[in-house]
C-alpha cells in the first residue's frame, strides 16, 4: 500500500449539487465521457420539497439525469457497499476507503460533516455527501471534495479520525443516499472511472428530443418509468424559469425575506453547460460554427449570473427594491435562451 495516493480529479465544469460535482470531477476532462455528458443534462425539472435540515419549503431544481447520473453514466462503474459489507470485509471505514482508493475506486457517501468540521462535541448533525479521492497515511488524512468546508465546491483534507467519527454516527434514516432506494440500509458508493473504451457516441436524436422537451416544458418522466414510478408534482423545461421566479417573489414578500438560491445555482450551471455543449457541437461539426449564436447564448449565461448574484446581494443588503432588476435579467435570459435554442434545434432537424 502506498503512503500517499490521489486519484485524478479535475475542478468540475458544474458544481450545483454534490452528485454533479462528483461526476464532473472524475469525467470533466475525458473526451469519451464528453459525448455522453453533452448528449444529456439538457432537460431541467423542479418540484417543491421540505428542506432536509430545516423542514422549510424548498424549490428543488436539477438537470436530468440528476443524482442517479452516477449510476447511469456508462463511463462509471458504480457499486453499492452496505455498512455491514464494509465492516465485514475490512473491519473499519478507514481501511475500506484506503483499500478502495488503492484499487482505483473513488468513495462517495453520507457522513456527519458537523463531526468533521467541529473540534468540540456538537448536539446536531449535518449529514452530507462526501467525495473521497485520495489519502495520505503519514498525515492520516483523506483528500475529499465537498461544498461544506469553504462554502463552495473545493478539494480539502479530512483527518482519518474525523472521517471515522462522521461515519459512525449516521443512522440508516439519515443516510439520504440510501434510504429511498435501498430499504433502510446505509453504506457507501464505490465509483470507478471506466472510459478507455468508447461506448457512447454523440446522440443527435437524443439532443433534439431533449431540446424539444425542454423548450416545450414537456413532462419527460414517462421515459423513466422503468426506473422510477413515484413522482412528485414536477415542472419541466423552460417553465422552470416561472417556478423559480414565483419562488423568489414569495421569498421577497415574506415577512423576513430569506432567500434559497440553490435553484438559481443549478439554472446558472445549466446555462454554462448548454454554452459548452453548443461550442462542442460546433467544434465537432454537428453544428455550423456561428459566433453570433455563441455570443447570443453567452448573454444568457451572463444574465443568469447577474440575476443570481443580484439575489445574493439582496439577501445580504435587504435592498428589496432591486428585485425589479432581478426580473429583468431573469426574463432576458429566458427570452434569449428560447430564441437561440429554437434556432439550434431547427439546424439539427435539418440533419
Amino acid at each position: 500500500m502506498a503512503d500517499i495516493k490521489k486519484l485524478p480529479v479535475t475542478y468540475p465544469m458544474i458544481t450545483s449539487w454534490q452528485w454533479h460535482a462528483t461526476l464532473f470531477s472524475i469525467l470533466s476532462d475525458d473526451e469519451n465521457a464528453k459525448k455522453w455528458i453533452f448528449s444529456n443534462y439538457i432537460q431541467l425539472r423542479c418540484y417543491h420539497i421540505q428542506e432536509i435540515f430545516t423542514g422549510d419549503d424548498m424549490l428543488f431544481a436539477d438537470m436530468m439525469p440528476g443524482s442517479s447520473s452516477l449510476k447511469q453514466c456508462p463511463y462509471l462503474v458504480y457499486s453499492l457497499m452496505t455498512k455491514e459489507q464494509i465492516e465485514s470485509y475490512c473491519g473499519n471505514i478507514i481501511d475500506f476507503v484506503i483499500k478502495t482508493i488503492d484499487l482505483d475506486g473513488y468513495v462517495y457517501g453520507v457522513f456527519d460533516e458537523a463531526k468533521i468540521l467541529c473540534d468540540a462535541e456538537v448536539d446536531y448533525k449535518f449529514p452530507h455527501e462526501l467525495f473521497i479521492y485520495g489519502y495520505d497515511r503519514d498525515k492520516e488524512e483523506f483528500y475529499v471534495g465537498d461544498f461544506t468546508f469553504q462554502d463552495h465546491y473545493g478539494y480539502n483534507t479530512v483527518s482519518f479520525s474525523d472521517l471515522e467519527r462522521g461515519w459512525e454516527v449516521i443512522s440508516a434514516k439519515e443516510d439520504h443516499m440510501f434510504k429511498d432506494a435501498d430499504n433502510g440500509k446505509r453504506g457507501l458508493y464505490v465509483i470507478m472511472k471506466n472510459s478507455e473504451m468508447p461506448v457512447y457516441d454523440v446522440d443527435l436524436e437524443l439532443i433534439k428530443q431533449n431540446l424539444k422537451e425542454y423548450l416545450n416544458s414537456e413532462d419527460t418522466k414517462d421515459h423513466f418509468r422503468m426506473l422510477r414510478n413515484r413522482f412528485d408534482d414536477t415542472t419541466f423545461g423552460i417553465k422552470v424559469y416561472d417556478k423559480a421566479l414565483a419562488q423568489v417573489e414569495k421569498q421577497l414578500h415574506a415577512e423576513e425575506p430569506d432567500f434559497d438560491i440553490r435553484a438559481l445555482h443549478i439554472m446558472y450551471d445549466h446555462k454554462v453547460l448548454m454554452y459548452e455543449r453548443i461550442k462542442y457541437l460546433m467544434d465537432h461539426g454537428y453544428l455550423k460554427f456561428n459566433q453570433e449564436t455563441l455570443d447570443a447564448y453567452a448573454t444568457v449565461v451572463k444574465n443568469m449570473l447577474a440575476a443570481r448574484n443580484l439575489l445574493v446581494r439582496i439577501s445580504i443588503t435587504d435592498e428589496i427594491e432591486a428585485a425589479s432588476r432581478f426580473k429583468t435579467y431573469f426574463n432576458a435570459a429566458k427570452e434569449k435562451e428560447v430564441n437561440v435554442l429554437f434556432e439550434i434545434l431547427a439546424e439539427l432537424e435539418e440533419k
Binding site: 443570481r308 448574484n309 445574493v312 445580504i316 443588503t317
Partner: protein
C-alpha cells in the same frame, strides 16, 4: 487617490470582511490562494462600495471578473478616475 492608496485602503476592507486573510498578495489568485467564492466576493464588493463611495453594477459582481485582488483594485481605480 493613487494606486498605492487604493491598495492600502482595499487591504483594510479585505481585512475587515475576510479576517482569515493575514497578508494580501494583490497578484495571487483569489479563488485558489484565498478561497474567495461568489458569495464572499459580493460581501467584499459591498464593503468596497461603502469604503470608496463607488457602485458596482450587477454584472460586475461576477467572480470570474476578478482573478486577483489587483483586478478588484483596478476596477476601483477606474471608478474613481
Amino acid at each position: 487617490m493613487d494606486r498605492t492608496q487604493i491598495n492600502t485602503k482595499l487591504e483594510e476592507v479585505i481585512g475587515d470582511v475576510m479576517p482569515e486573510i493575514e497578508k494580501v498578495d494583490f497578484a495571487a489568485s483569489i479563488t485558489q490562494e484565498y478561497g474567495v467564492n461568489s458569495v464572499s466576493l459580493i460581501r467584499l464588493i459591498l464593503a468596497v462600495e461603502s469604503k470608496f463611495d463607488v457602485s458596482f453594477n450587477d454584472y460586475e459582481l461576477a467572480l470570474s471578473s476578478y482573478d486577483t485582488f489587483g483586478d478588484l483594485a483596478a476596477t476601483v481605480a477606474e471608478k474613481l478616475a
